[in-house]
C-alpha cells in the first residue's frame, strides 16, 4: 500500500512539475512548425516568471501577473521575430541572446525594485495560482481506487496545470484542423509555396513566434506563482532546453511531445524524492548525480531513442526571396 501511495505521489508530482515543460514544449512546437527555431524558450520563461512574480506581488493578483508575463514574453518573441524573420538573422544566436539578456536583465530590474539580490519577495497565498479542488474531490477521497486517483492525483492542481493539459489537444486541433494550422505547417515545410499562394510568410511566422510567446508567458507564470512562490534567479534551470528536447523527442507532434514532457517531469520528481534516500543494493546515490538525472536523460534520449528525426523542412531557414 505504501508503495502504491508513493507511486500516486510520484504521478501527482509529475503532473505538477510537467506544467512549465508542457507549455514551453508546445511553444517550441508552434514556433518550429512555422519554421522558426526557438532556443529562447528558456529566456522567455525566465522573463515571464520574473514579471509574473513582480506584478503579482505589487498588485496582489496572480491574474494580472499572468497577463503581464504574457505581454513580456510576447515582447521577447517579437525581438526574436524581428531578428530572425525580418532580418534573416541566425535563429539560434538570436534565441541565445534572449536567454542571456533575460538572465541578466531580470535580476537587474529585480534588484532595482526589491533590493534582495535580484529575487522577488515571497508571494502571499492570494497572489499565487494555488491548488484547485475539483468538484466532489473531498467527498470522493475515501472511495477506494477512485478516491486516491481522482482526489489525490487529478484534483488539487493549479489553474496553470489544468490549462497546460487542456492546451495539448487545443494545439493539436489548431495545427491539424484549422486554416491557420494548415498554413503554419506549410510555412515550416516550404515557405515559398505559401508565398506563391498569396499568403504572407512573415506574418504567419510572426504569429507563430507570438503564440510561442504567449505559451512561454504562461509557463513562466506557473514557475514563479504556482510551483514556486517567488522569482529566484536562474529558476528555469534549463527547463527551456529540456522542453526543446521533449519536442524533438516528440517529433514535433503535440501528443507525443506531451508524453516526452511527462517522462522528463517524472525524472525530475523522482530525483527530488531520491535525494538522501537509501536505495537497495546501490545505497545512497550522491545528490549531484541525482540532480543531473534529467540532463543526462535528455542527452540519452536525444542520442539513443530519437534516431533520425525529421524536423520541419524549413525549420531554422530564414525565408529570403531569391532572384
Amino acid at each position: 500500500m505504501d508503495f502504491l501511495i508513493t507511486i500516486l505521489q510520484l504521478i501527482d508530482g509529475t503532473i505538477r512539475v510537467s506544467t512549465p515543460l508542457i507549455l514551453a514544449a508546445l511553444a517550441g512546437l508552434c514556433s518550429e512548425r512555422g519554421g522558426v527555431i526557438d532556443i529562447g524558450l528558456e529566456g522567455k520563461m525566465l522573463g515571464a516568471a520574473f514579471v509574473a512574480a513582480t506584478v503579482a506581488y505589487m498588485t496582489g493578483s496572480a491574474w494580472l501577473g499572468l497577463l503581464a508575463a504574457i505581454a513580456a514574453s510576447v515582447a521577447l518573441s517579437l525581438i526574436h521575430g524581428f531578428a530572425s524573420i525580418t532580418h534573416h538573422g541566425n535563429q539560434v544566436v538570436s534565441g541565445m541572446a534572449i536567454n542571456i539578456i533575460v538572465a541578466g536583465l531580470a535580476p537587474t530590474i529585480g534588484n532595482a525594485i526589491f533590493h534582495i539580490n535580484g529575487d522577488t519577495p515571497p508571494l502571499p497565498h492570494a497572489a499565487r495560482f494555488t491548488a484547485i479542488d475539483l468538484p466532489f474531490a473531498a467527498s470522493l477521497a475515501d472511495v477506494p481506487v477512485i478516491g486516491p486517483v481522482y482526489s489525490g492525483v487529478i484534483s488539487g492542481h493549479s489553474f496553470t496545470t489544468y490549462l497546460a493539459f487542456a492546451l495539448v489537444p487545443f494545439v493539436a486541433w489548431m495545427l491539424y484542423k484549422t486554416r491557420f494550422g494548415l498554413r503554419l505547417r506549410a510555412v515550416g515545410e516550404n515557405p515559398e509555396a505559401v508565398d506563391t499562394a498569396g499568403v504572407s510568410v512573415q506574418w504567419l511566422r510572426y504569429r507563430a513566434v507570438m503564440i510561442a510567446g504567449v505559451l512561454c508567458g504562461i509557463a513562466g507564470t506557473s514557475l514563479s506563482t504556482s510551483l514556486g512562490a517567488s522569482f529566484i534567479r536562474d529558476m528555469t534551470a534549463g527547463k527551456g532546453y529540456l522542453a526543446l528536447a521533449a519536442m524533438i523527442f516528440g517529433k514535433w507532434r503535440p501528443k507525443t511531445t506531451l508524453l516526452a514532457c511527462l517522462i522528463f517531469a517524472f525524472t525530475d520528481t523522482l530525483q527530488a524524492r531520491l535525494q538522501g534516500v537509501e536505495l537497495p543494493v546501490v545505497g545512497e546515490i550522491p545528490v549531484q548525480f541525482i540532480i543531473m538525472l534529467p540532463y543526462a536523460l535528455t542527452v540519452f534520449l536525444l542520442a539513443g531513442f530519437v534516431g533520425k528525426v525529421v524536423a520541419p523542412a524549413a525549420d531554422g531557414e530564414p525565408y529570403i526571396k531569391e532572384h
Binding site: K177, T178, R179, F180, G181, L182, R183, R185, A186, E189, N190, E192, A193, V194, D195, T196, A197, G198, V199, K308, A313, K321, H323
Partner: protein, 533 residues
C-alpha cells in the same frame, strides 16, 4: 525593339483586348538591371512562348506579372485594364496562375491540402477540403487532369506533381496560366501529354504563357513567341513565321551551332565496370537495382532518364560518395566498391576518377569559398600544394589562374567568391578542376545546366576532346538533345534500373522517351508499356 503597339493585333481579332500586356517594365536587383523596358502583349486564348538564355530575364518578368516582385517602373494591363499587382494574391485574384519551375508544393501534404492552401474558406479546413474534392473531380474530367486527391505529394512522380500545380492554378480560377520551364522534368511523351493539356486549355479560352529554352517546344505548341536577351525583349514573332535557327540566333545574338561536331568514337578497353550493383539509401529505399555496365576508353556513355530514376545515385556510387549494398565496382582491374567497402572520393580522384557533380550549388562547389579554394576541393590533400603542416596558398592560386586561362573563366580573379561568377563560369571552374588532373574516367552530371549557350558549346567541345584523348566519359543529363549529340552509347534508366541500351546513331527521341517512361521494349508498341499515357 518593337513597341507594344506593333503586335497588338491579336489572333482572336482586334476587338478583344489582350489577356496580358506588359509595358515598359524595369527591374533592378542592386546594380543589376534584370529587366529593361520590357514590353509584351499576349492575346487571349493563345499559347505564347517566351524564349531566352538563362538569366535573360524571363523569370524576373513573369515574377513581376505574378506579383512576386514589384517592378521599378512600367505598367501591367490585364484584359485591357491597368492593374497594380503587388502580391501573388493580387495576381491570383486577377486570374493569373503560375506553375513554377521548382514546384511550389508542400511535400508532406496531400494533393487536396496543397490545392486549398491560401484559398481556404473560413477558419476550418474541412469544408474547403470537401469543396476542393468536388472541384478537382470536375476539373480533372474537363481538362484530362486526373489525380488522386488524397495522395501525398512526396509519393507522386514529378509528372503528377506538375499536374497538381496546374490544378492548383485552375482551382484558383486562373484565366492566364504561366508555365516556367515545365518540361525539364518530363519524358518527351509526358511533355507531349502536357502540350495536349495546353491545347485543351487554349480551346477552352484560357491563355497560356510558356517560358522555355527549348526551341522544339516553342515550335510545337505556341502561337506567338517573344525572345529575350540580357534583360531586354529583342523580338516578337508569330510562330508560324519563324524557325528554330532564327530564334536561336536572336537568343544568343550571333549564329549558333545547334549540333555538336564530333568524329567516330574509337573505344578501347574497359576501365570501369559495375557488376550487379544495388544501392539502398538512408531511408531504406532501393535506388539502384542490379546495375551492370562498363565504360571503355575513348567513348562517352550517356545515361538518359527522367531525373530521380537513379542517375544521381549512379554517379554517387561511382565517385565513392555512397556505399553499395550489392555487387561490386571494378576500376582498372581493382575492386573499388563492394558491400561494406567504400572508397573515399579523394582516393578515387587520385586513382583517376574525376567527378563533375550534377548540382554545383549543392555539391560541386562551395559558393562562399573563393574560386581558388574551389579549385582544390577534393584535391586539397595533394602533395603539390601541401607542406607537412601548411598549405601553399600561392600554388593554389597559381593553379586556379592556370585553370582560368585555359578554360577562359571570366573574370579571372582567383580570390573572388564562387557565388560571384555566372553559372557558365562556375561550371568551367568545376570542369577545369576535374579535367586538368588528367583522370582516366570522367563522371559528368548535367554539364550544361544553368549555363549560357556560349559556354555550352565550349563545354561540349571539352568533353569530346576528353573522349578523343582516350578517356572514358560517363555523361548523365536530362537534356535528351545533349545525350543524343554527345554520347556514343546511350543507357536509359528507369526506377533505379537500366532499362535499355541503344547506340547513339540508332537512337530516336521517340524510342528513348518510351524507355524513360519505363517501357523496356519500345518496338513492342505503346500499349504494352503499361504507362498511363
Amino acid at each position: 525593339m518593337t513597341g507594344p503597339g506593333a503586335q497588338a493585333v491579336s489572333a482572336a481579332g482586334g476587338a478583344i483586348p489582350p489577356a496580358v500586356e506588359l509595358i515598359g517594365l524595369n527591374k533592378h536587383f542592386g546594380p543589376v538591371h534584370a529587366n529593361r523596358d520590357v514590353c509584351i502583349s499576349v492575346p487571349r486564348g493563345t499559347v505564347h512562348g517566351i524564349v531566352g538564355e538563362n538569366g535573360a530575364g524571363k523569370s524576373t518578368m513573369m515574377a513581376m506579372l505574378y506579383g512576386f516582385y514589384k517592378a521599378d517602373s512600367g505598367r501591367i494591363r490585364i484584359n485591357g485594364e491597368d492593374v497594380h499587382i503587388t502580391s501573388p494574391s493580387d495576381a491570383i485574384s486577377r486570374g493569373i496562375g503560375m506553375v513554377h519551375q521548382h514546384f511550389m508544393l508542400v511535400e508532406p501534404f496531400t494533393v487536396l491540402e496543397n490545392v486549398i492552401l491560401g484559398v481556404e474558406q473560413g477558419g476550418m479546413i474541412q469544408g474547403s477540403l470537401n469543396h476542393a474534392r468536388k472541384e478537382l473531380r470536375r476539373l480533372g474530367e474537363e481538362y484530362g487532369l486526373e489525380v488522386d486527391p488524397d495522395a501525398r505529394i512526396r509519393d507522386l512522380p514529378v509528372g503528377l506533381q506538375q499536374r497538381v500545380e496546374i490544378l492548383k492554378a485552375l482551382y484558383r480560377g486562373a484565366e492566364t496560366l504561366i508555365l516556367d520551364e515545365p518540361t525539364g522534368v518530363l519524358t518527351p511523351q509526358e511533355a507531349d501529354h502536357l502540350f495536349r493539356i495546353l491545347d485543351t486549355l487554349r480551346s477552352q479560352g484560357k491563355t497560356v504563357i510558356l517560358i522555355t529554352h527549348k526551341l522544339r517546344e516553342i515550335m510545337a505548341v505556341t502561337d506567338n513567341v517573344s525572345v529575350m536577351r540580357r534583360g531586354t525583349m529583342v523580338a516578337h514573332r508569330p510562330t508560324a513565321e519563324t524557325s528554330k535557327e532564327e530564334l536561336a540566333e536572336l537568343m544568343v545574338g550571333r549564329k549558333v551551332l545547334l549540333r555538336v561536331e564530333k568524329g567516330e568514337a574509337k573505344p578501347g578497353e574497359c576501365v570501369v565496370s559495375l557488376e550487379n550493383v544495388s544501392y539502398t539509401d538512408d531511408m531504406g529505399r532501393e535506388r539502384l537495382k542490379d546495375i551492370n555496365l562498363s565504360i571503355c576508353t575513348g567513348e562517352i556513355l550517356g545515361i538518359a532518364g527522367v531525373s530521380g530514376n537513379g542517375q544521381s545515385e549512379l554517379l554517387e556510387v561511382l565517385s565513392g560518395i555512397s556505399p553499395i549494398s550489392r555487387g561490386r565496382i571494378m576500376f582498372k582491374g581493382e575492386e573499388i566498391a563492394a558491400p561494406g567497402k567504400q572508397s573515399n572520393p579523394q582516393e578515387l580522384r587520385r586513382a583517376g576518377i574525376a567527378h563533375v557533380a550534377e548540382d554545383r550549388h549543392r555539391m560541386g562547389m562551395i559558393m562562399d569559398f573563393t574560386a581558388a579554394e574551389n579549385t582544390i576541393l577534393g584535391y586539397h590533400r595533394g602533395k603539390e600544394i601541401n607542406g607537412p603542416v601548411l598549405m601553399d596558398l600561392k600554388k593554389v592560386e597559381g593553379r586556379c589562374m592556370e585553370h582560368m586561362e585555359k578554360f577562359d573563366v571570366r573574370p579571372p580573379i582567383p580570390g573572388l567568391a564562387a557565388s560571384g561568377f555566372s553559372g557558365g563560369n562556375q561550371q568551367k571552374i568545376v570542369l577545369a578542376r576535374e579535367m586538368e588532373e588528367n583522370p582516366d574516367l570522367l563522371l559528368v552530371g548535367q554539364p550544361t545546366r544553368g549555363v549560357d549557350i556560349g559556354a555550352i558549346e565550349f563545354i561540349h567541345k571539352q568533353l569530346i576532346t576528353m573522349r578523343d584523348a582516350g578517356k572514358a566519359v560517363l555523361l548523365v543529363s536530362v537534356e535528351l538533345d545533349e545525350i543524343m549529340s554527345l554520347a556514343d552509347r546511350i543507357l536509359v534508366m528507369f526506377d533505379g534500373r537500366i532499362i535499355g541500351e541503344v547506340a547513339a546513331k540508332d537512337a530516336t527521341e521517340q524510342a528513348l522517351g518510351l524507355m524513360m517512361a519505363g517501357c523496356e521494349n519500345p518496338a513492342a508498341g505503346k500499349q504494352e508499356c503499361g504507362g498511363d499515357e
